[in-house]
Symmetry: C3
């Protein structure tokens, strides 16, 4: 026994606690927040940005997003640097945003371009540079990069689904949560929960869905899950037996750092959706601060997709499919039966920022552990001056987040990031509308 | 003058401040909270505990109370030790409560009895013991003991009134307050306030009550109060003159540590209730945290009790009997005329936790002072490893909290805990329905 | 370079920060709050003080204002010194205010005049002196002085407009704000904002106002502003050219320390109001605490004043004159077009207490700078044991806050506190109803 040992143990313990503390942080100067600032983040949907500035809190910073008279989007600090009035109440002008209090005006790069109450020969405005962040619009979304080297940010990763033209892309925003964004991300890295939390759904497939259901699949519960680290993040893969020993049924759920998730097949994991074309779904998180975020979901609807009444997002009533009991006084009563609502209730119930040192993890938490290791490495890389995972500086192109949902020949199956069937090239087995297997 | 003296004075002053600081505390590790943890506390009414778990905050701890499929009540820490989801959203199973997130299941003693996503040969659950507290159900109430030696708690003191079979016992919960529980307890130890605060009532006896009123009693105001320490806590006694010099009219109000109160005669202290059988009333406090508690009231209605419209609990409108004035903008407007509402208004107005060092006490505050001395002694005893007052380890029986309301022969009157007339044995004088005195 | 230099620079910097920190403070023991306590402050309108005590927070202190049975107003600490119940629920008695809990009674000077539950020979009440502040009623307002030497306060400055008998004086209270009172005062010392923030109004003179509008005035925008320190505080003066080179159009806005503002002509600064008698307007602030205040506005309406629909105070709908857009999700949507609302929106948007070290001031902020210098000097004077500006101990008379709004001969124009045209003596040029200039 040496003092060094116990010091080293104490240091390991405190290093672990430090990781837990840093993990959920999003603000400037925090290890978590600095890591997050190496990526592009969604600010709002393009269609919502019109002639009125919008106050947006992003990664703990209070900002205003606006579109000038020439339709250019800009993102500035919300307080006018003159006398601190909010630019949320500013007026859009052709060349920028004007503070309504004294008329100081800023372009999308934060240059002060007018101080109308100052003398004509004033040079005051030349000394004013307001807080700004670079903005790009693509795929129906206004994006920003809040990290270092603002004039030379990494290329915007273009989310593949948003570029698809073989179906209808739908974007839905506005689902705001009052807890840390990692409660959501860890939920997605932990697909075992689908068996328990959403199991209710599996056992109650609506009659209208039965034609789409593959009766050949065995042992849905529990899902046999494997976790794979990828270039962009990680994915979870389940391989299920079918009636045919040469054919497997494969499902994947992918996470791209640090705010994207993706699945294939709108009901992946529970009742299979054997339409003749697969449905892509996913989304991204707008991180507001440590305890708030907004979900921006997207999906690709293609002809043949099931378009029934099953609900994908959150029901506006915040009620599930079960009957409300009079003695149910919980904040969410009768919450069971709709997966998005079930996720909300359980994620929120973990607390604004879960005190993870109180957890007891099992082998079924390997997905969560992988996610935390990836986050840990990314925070370390940033602290060491390196780009973290999934900052692709050389590639200015699509971010392909592969997903799969369908049958595949057992002989072709390899679980790995490089050789998983991609949702883009259509490899693998697809069952057509008549239930016949079609080799792509 | 020596430095020792002034140090000793300073120490006495800081000791007094420490007492004032400790007195209202209810959380674990505080002197007040540790004292409170030596007693059984009500968790909820039995009738409200059905097939949905209920989140309950008790003494600053967030817990969940549930009844398993075999009707056994249990009280557990609210956060599942696996990944901290709230067990409020758990599912009741035959043998315990299942977390809805990943299916971990706990029995009423906190043993983890299933981890369904783990491998079949997993021994993980054997290492999990979740926070639990022993529970007993008796008298229509779910009780818990949150102190040390959970496996061998002191016997549950059975509240005598709840065991009575000579009338109808009514239990009413749900009156929750946003201030410290001692504001309530001190109010009850301080019956002088009835003369002033509830005096309005005394002066306005409804016509329908006049037949019940004993015109022989003199000098209701002010009440001549004496305070007596008892085995279970303390009591306040008023002895009033009647028209007959050999007969006195006696009223008592009793407090049993640390959350019980009792009176006899629903309008004790103000208009006398000379029905042919006395009415017992009282209640107990469910302490939520330092600044919240819930009242659970009970009463014993017997045949002959006055059943008029006079209101005992809090009116749902939170309005008294006086007319509301248009210029009354207070939180509680037109609050006068109903004792329970008057008590709420004045107790709440003292502040969440009154800053008692600002008080100026008089001789009429002897009841309050006695209560504080009893609390102080109990905290000291617990700090010294002893049981505090009214933890009766040898007796597993009724907690008799004696009260009295009626006439008594002056020659028999002794003010003291051991020889006060008891409400159980019916000693003393009772006036029958015709107004005739009957010696029991 | 010497260490002294850098220390002195650091000291200057920290001195500046200290000024910024002290400036908005209002509580006891703060430099800002101690300065404010040298002045009389409005507590409520006389007409609102009836037979129910009113809880008022004044300069961070929780107080109760009441009128005893003999109509004398009193201002006491809100908590009864006996057991800390709120005197807001006290009962008005002929000679004072009685606590409803135990009946202790206080007169308007805080003397305890009864402790009814104490023995008849008790002397306890002689040792109780409750917190009280001197009160005066004048001009429809209950005023108090919360500074030192309460028994000998400086004379109440009587606001001249409230004493006028040549028109109808209107007092309006109840406009409560959730930010620091200096956001308001600095707005008034900074009339340049009218050109930008309220400029919308200038450009949209309602047709009904056109007959009143002087088409001869040139160059309304920007206003040529000068700032003058006065005995009572400061004033802002704008001198505009007219069609006649010998005649100027003059507007003034005045601030009297530390809570009063005044203007002449209800639309001063924007569309001129050339009625045959000028209209006086202004108001004062009831400071609640560092982040709350209430506006008490007054105006003098005289025959011939324009009485149209233009709105002076805050519209109850909190909507301006522009149409609300569906995508306007701001707290204040469609806020433009009503000056009082525009001021609310921009002042509130600066933050509860603006972080002034982030400002960038220009030459157009000279009014704001003058105000801060005056406040700084006043805080210094109080810290040095002197009376601050505008505490007039020798004069027990009107506080004349001069304002002007009208034409004046260029040869007579001097900008200065002692020789500016006064609104009281009517010097200067007034245009009559027929539009003819009349020399007073």
């Amino acid at each position: 026994m040496t003092p060094t040992n116990s010091a080293s143990t104490a240091s390991a313990a405190s290093g672990f606690q430090k990781l837990l503390d840093d993990l959920p942080r999003t603000g400037p100067g925090t290890r978590g927040g600095e890591m997050l600032r190496r990526y592009w983040h969604p600010v709002c949907l393009s269609e919502n940005l019109k002639d009125i500035p919008i106050a947006v809190r992003m990664l703990c910073e209070d900002l205003v997003v606006f579109r000038d008279g020439k339709a250019r989007a800009g993102l500035l600090g919300i307080r006018c640097p003159h006398r601190l009035a909010s630019l949320e109440y500013g007026q859009v002008r052709d060349d920028g945003l004007m503070c309504s209090y004294h008329g100081w005006r800023y372009d999308t790069q934060g240059h002060c371009i007018d101080t109308p109450l100052e003398p004509c020969d004033s040079t005051l405005k030349q000394n004013i540079r307001h807080l700004w962040y670079p903005v790009q619009e693509w795929g129906g979304v206004v994006w920003t990069y809040m990290g270092p080297e603002k004039d030379n940010p990494p290329p915007l990763p273009k989310i593949d689904v948003l570029a698809r033209t073989d179906g209808e892309v739908k974007l839905v925003d506005g689902d705001t949560r009052n807890y840390n964004y990692l409660n959501w991300m860890e939920n997605f890295a932990d697909m075992g929960h689908a068996t328990i939390l959403h199991g209710l759904v599996v056992r109650q497939i609506p009659r209208e869905l039965e034609p789409y259901t593959d009766q050949s699949i065995k042992n849905w519960t529990p899902l046999p899950l494997q976790h794979v680290e990828t270039d962009y993040g990680m994915k979870t893969v389940s391989v299920l037996d079918t009636g045919d020993p040469d054919v497997k049924f494969v499902n994947t759920w992918s996470l791209a750092m640090p705010i994207h998730w993706r699945f294939s097949g709108i009901r992946s994991g529970f009742p299979p959706d054997f339409t003749n074309e697969r449905q892509e779904g996913g989304g991204m998180i707008r991180i507001i601060d440590d305890t708030h975020f907004e979900l921006i979901r997207y999906s690709l609807w293609r002809k043949g997709n099931y378009r029934g009444t099953w609900f994908f997002g959150l029901p506006s009533t915040l009620q599930g499919t079960v009957e409300k009991k009079a003695h149910d006084k919980r904040r969410y009563s009768a919450w069971e039966g709709i997966p998005a609502l079930e996720d909300l209730v359980l994620q929120e119930s973990q607390g604004e920022i879960p005190d993870r040192k109180l957890e007891h993890l099992g082998t079924s938490d390997r997905g969560v552990v992988m996610l935390r290791r990836i986050w840990h490495k990314a925070m370390e890389d940033v602290a060491n001056g390196k780009d973290p995972k999934a900052v692709f500086r050389q590639v200015n192109d699509m971010l392909e987040v592969d997903t799969y949902h369908g049958h595949i020949k057992a002989s072709e199956l390899k679980i790995g990031p490089e050789n998983m069937p991609s949702s883009m090239d259509g490899r693998g087995l697809i069952r057509d509308r008549d239930g016949k297997l079609v080799f792509a």
